[in-house]
Amino acid sequence: LLAMVVSEAMHELGIARSLVEVAVAAMTERCVTIPAKSLQVEVGRFTSVVPDSLRFYFEVLSRETLLEGAELAIETIPLRTRCQKCLVEAEPDIASLLCPSCDGLVEVVGGRELRLISIELSDEAA
């Protein structure tokens, strides 16, 4: 299996590894010992992450941790920009980062997220 992972390697591998690390850390710091049922994650549209690929690597890398078998619930966050001149906010086509209203320079205010939001624990907790 590892051989398959290596031959198919994409950057989602490293990102999935980091996700497993931060999620396990969040659980260990709270002395949680019951497995996770699902993870809520935000992935911005203006990142290079393909959700299905992230799910695949997460499934492989979470084995033998408290995250094994947990569902990865990915919320895709749209690209949002704010014009530095006219302050108009927009959700533009990903290929353009100019203000649709005045053609001015924009700043990216959303869409770069790669965040763990929460972890739902399995029912045996209750």
Binding site: L19, A26, L97, I117, S118, E120
Partner: protein, 220 residues
Amino acid sequence: VIIKDVRNILSANDRIAVANRERFTRWDSYVVNLMGAPGAGKTAILERTIKGLSERYRLAVIEGDVRGSYDRDRLRRVADIPIVQINTEIAYGGECHLDALMIANAIGDVELPGTDLVFIENVGNLVCPAEFDVGENSKVMVASVTEGEDKPLKYPLMYSVCDVLLLNKSDIAVAVDFDRELFRQNCRSVNPGLLIIEVSARSGEGIPAWLGWLDRRVAG
């Protein structure tokens, strides 16, 4: 039971990147993360750069490739400078980019105080390297006229994170019907502040402008 805990997934990478940057600052080094597609001419530009600057500055290079040390061997022939090779195939699952941990491991315990410029040649790829801060001061990409004018629109993240774009193979732009204006317009739409320097690693044209930009960075 739900644990609410918002954490940046790349926070581990970003912490290591901050440590790398502090270390390079202690060396008094300016660090360039050189990115671009395979075949764009990153190594050829580095050869020209090293040739042009090795008498004036102390240089070092960190080479990132999935496998092999062809690029390191090429640069060795240009000047005798410290070059570290990273092969992502060996310890990093064949990753298609460099991350901060790989850079931290590559420099290990080696201290190179007084190195003026460190070049990190990233793995040839227009997607993933854009996502990872490795502790550099500037992100510079090499694009070539043979790649076509539409690439800024197809790989907007890479084009948007860079400070400088070296447009390589400019000496054959006419032969491949490259539309400079269209390319600049596409770059502007994803990164209005991008500095574009047209160069040819083969003929050497435009290289002085690039070296001048580096001079100003070293001077601080």
